[in-house]
Amino acid sequence: MQTTIKGLKHWSLTLLGSAGLALTPLASAVADEEIRYSGYYENATFVRDSVGLSKFRNTMQLNAERKIGEFGLFSNVSWNAVLRGSYDGVYDLNKNEYGRNAGGPVMIENIGGGNSVPHGSGLALPNSFDEANNPNEGMIVLGEQLHDTDGGVAFGVPVRPCDVDSRGCINGYLDKDTNDLRYSEFNDRLDFIRELYVDFDYGLDNGHILSTRLGKQQVVWGRTDLFRVLDVINPVDFSRNNIYDELQDIRIPMWILKTDYRMGPGEIFDDLNLSFVWNFDRFRPHDIGQCGSPNNILDAACFFRGMNNLWENGGTVANFAGGVFATDFGPGQIGIRKAHMPAWSLSNGQFGLKLEGVYGDIGFSLNALTYRSQLPSLRGGFPGQNGFTGETAVWPGLIAFDIHFPRVNLIGGSLDYYAQGIDTVFRMEVAHTDGEEFANTLQSRLYSESDVTRFVVGADKNIFLPFLNSKRAFLFSGQLFGQKIHEHQLENRPLGKAGMPDWEENFIGTLLIKGWWMNDRLSPQILAAHDFKAEATAIAPSIEWLVSDNLKIVGGANIKVGRGAREFDDCRSCNPWDPFTAGAPGHAEGQTLGLGGYEPLGRFRAGPIGMAQKEDELQLTVRYSF
């Protein structure tokens, strides 16, 4: 394996070196050509309800591009570089919430005796934990910003940056120190080199063109906004602003070879293109944020950090024993052990094919991709210590996990169509995957695999509303996103529903209404998204003012309404250490009774909108472009 990794590294370096070497003579050969520079400085200041400052991000981006034209066998040769660096002052200006002073001592709910107990003062199992290794400081209670524990499970989660407090930091995955958080692009993946690629075309004798882009880049598939049904080649940085930033700004560029065989118009199609994509970069998952930072989608990073802390150091879990007593677990018993990050090898490569074309009023694509899931999967089923006996073994239904990123295979397609009669454009994407994994409390390893079908249907229409603006039409753009988990499992157990917390079928609708005044220099819009099953809605009104060609100010809000946290089986009643954890006589080992609460699995029912119900914000962004 090591040889393979080294081999791939050498190969990749050779490839990149070749590109670099190729650029060197190009640069000298075309020294009289002009490099075009552009860029911007941006300050984004967000204020969050009950929290205060949640973002004070200062970003500088510099773009450089050079069109070289013909070079040897190639035409349309060019290169493009995008450098980006940012400093988020929130970790210094609001350090009590998000920095080195965040968190504090926590009280863990204990409905079986008094209201709560301090962390470390729960019912101690025979093999408990040493509070010296996991002191009651610098923590919050999991989910406290959204809900009370309310009879469910919860535990203390360290929230300070990993250089201040390393507890719960998962090596190689969720382990950012203060500077990683402050200066998010300056890391060992050199994210400040946001994009760096070379384009070149090779004309074939039949008139077709091989068009290649090689380098660090974003490859965008699909036709819809906000939802990533087909647009899954690059992982996404949700830590920047949850799901609400433009994808261009939050896709994580990867080192990719993309070659298009451009056939152009033929006897049938107005345009036809076959695209091959090879993501040869080292695997990266989505950046889901870090507990203690303002944006961590689904609050998953806090769940993971708290769980890793439980595994490493042990800790107090609310309302666990008997479903009512805060319980002190020892290390190596429950929690998250580690993350298995896919190695940089050919076998972990990601490959895609897309056939895309235009046929009259219809545009279409057929897509296939094999890739590593960018979302983590929690797999149980490895040895852990029995808190009562001290025996180490594989215990069915034990809430102890490793994080994996399974291989996922995707096939799908997209379509757009302009309906003249109603002057409306329809867009559609559909994707079917196999290999995705979901939490499942009915399985002994607490996860299962399922095929998933996702789709989006969107419609765009420009409509004049003369009473508001007689010169400029408003854009109305609506989308409906749907997801079906084919091998979904959900059962009624004595104490509640158990199985897969994700909805078997769910829909999210979005609506964008955008208008323009003052020659497009003033543009208000309202964007709303509603999660039907979660019964949660996000509404984001904003107004954009182009003060000049260089200066843009955007003021807005992000408001959530509807339901927040949702409950689901939390596997307290999974009885891994039978008979000590049996809920009743005859309670089979590893079988859940369905006792549930908000944490930890309710988040999959609440979804990203429901889980952010307490994250209403006022947002001001000022960008100076040059």
């Binding site: 552009s38 911007y40 591009e65 493009n80 994009e195 384009d199 075309d201 063109i209 068009s211 882009r213 974003q218 965008v220 699909g222 036709r223 906004d225 433009e246 994808l247 261009q248 298009d260 451009r262 152009g264 118009p265 033929g266 006897e267 049938i268 107005d270 345009d271 895309e356 235009v358 009259g360 009023d361 545009g363 757009d416 169509y417 302009y418 003249q420 002057d423 409306t424 454009v425 867009r427 765009d460 229409k461 420009n462 409509i463 004049f464 003369p466 007689s470 010169k471 400029r472 039409a473 323009w516 003052m518 020659n519 497009d520 220099r521 182009l546 000049s548 060609d549 260089n550 472009s625």
Partner: protein, 442 residues
Amino acid sequence: MNITLKHFTRSVLAGSMLASLFSASVLANDALINNSFHPYKDDVPSHDGLQAGMVINQDNLAQFKDIIDPAFANFIEQGWLEVTVGETTSFDLHPGYIEASRNGLGQVSLGDSVGEINGWVAGRPFLEEPDTNDPRAGEKLAWNYKYGYNWGDSAAVAPFYWKYRDMNSGKLERTIKFNFHFLNFTGRVNHEPVPTITPNPSELFRGIYVQVLEPYDVRNTQLLIHRAQDDLKRDNSWLYLGFQRRVRRLATGQVTDAFLGSDLMIEDFEGYNGRISDMNWNYKGTRQMLMPFYNHNDLTLDAETHSDSDGYQVVAFGGQGGCFPNITWQLRKVYEVEASPVDDSHPLSKRVHFIDAQTFTIPRTVSYDRSGKLWKTFTIGQAHPDHHLPANKGTGVSIDDSFSMIDVQAMHCTTGQFKGQVDPSLSTPEMFSVQHMRATGN
């Protein structure tokens, strides 16, 4: 033998008659061609007191009011600009276009409905002078415009500067820098392949490809328009948004929408950019009028907006709010055509087009709102190709070289400064594909 001679004599006589008929027909065709394409061959129009080099302003406007459209005359009357008169010159279109027009003589006819045409392959469809007694005369002129030589078989405006200005204060609010590319898929007369690029499965007439270069917020925006030969069909359009990095198909029905916030509707481009079937066309008469035709290289140009290695500079603007091109105007033969929208909800009640008879460009258009009040006036300056970039010499294209769209109700204008290049290598067919937008987007 006698019989044979008689037969021979009859044959010769018949042949002579046919030949004379044929030559009469050729002469008639030549007359039509000359009248349509060379109206200034023998004589140039004149007007009392008008001479090249003079300036028309508030003081002497009254003398020239009948050779200036009323909207523009009103601008001069208010002192918003002065008009410098140039010599009337012939803007000869490319011989290939003229020859194609000759070949199409008698082959082209209007269909039963507005927007239908039969028999057109290339060139100017209708060469006859319009007749006020012909109820479809305006429609024929509209077809002549649509199938005009415009930018030739292909061309690029690269770059193309649009400036948004407050007409009261002269404040420059926004500058957008584009590249525009045009390609005729059919009706080609000059550059191979002629007359049609194949394959052309959707039977496209024309492609327009636009790239936005500046400013930053709209940088990398690309627009592709496919216009079908079938006038009754709406365009197919795609937009590549730099900030989305994705191609989106556009709904093209709202052609009265302001384009990127400018004072131009999409329907205003080049004078008229909609379907012929969207308007009722009414020929109002033939006039002699001052029109914005000039030699670019003879002007005092704008040294600030654009500079490049070949030394090309764009047309300068001045007058009220900086909304008027500093150009010269010449007296020319013009067809006045009124176009009123078929759709009652259209924001305009009518456009009055002043179509240049020789080039069939539309250098002046005056638009009226639903209540009949003057709303906008559109000027497209036409530069002679032989007095422009060296590469344009001899191309026979009347080069769109400057524009000014003035919203007189909002006292706002959008101005355009062109670097028009009639060079097929700048507008190759592969550029007019959706995939090209993806391939070049970043």
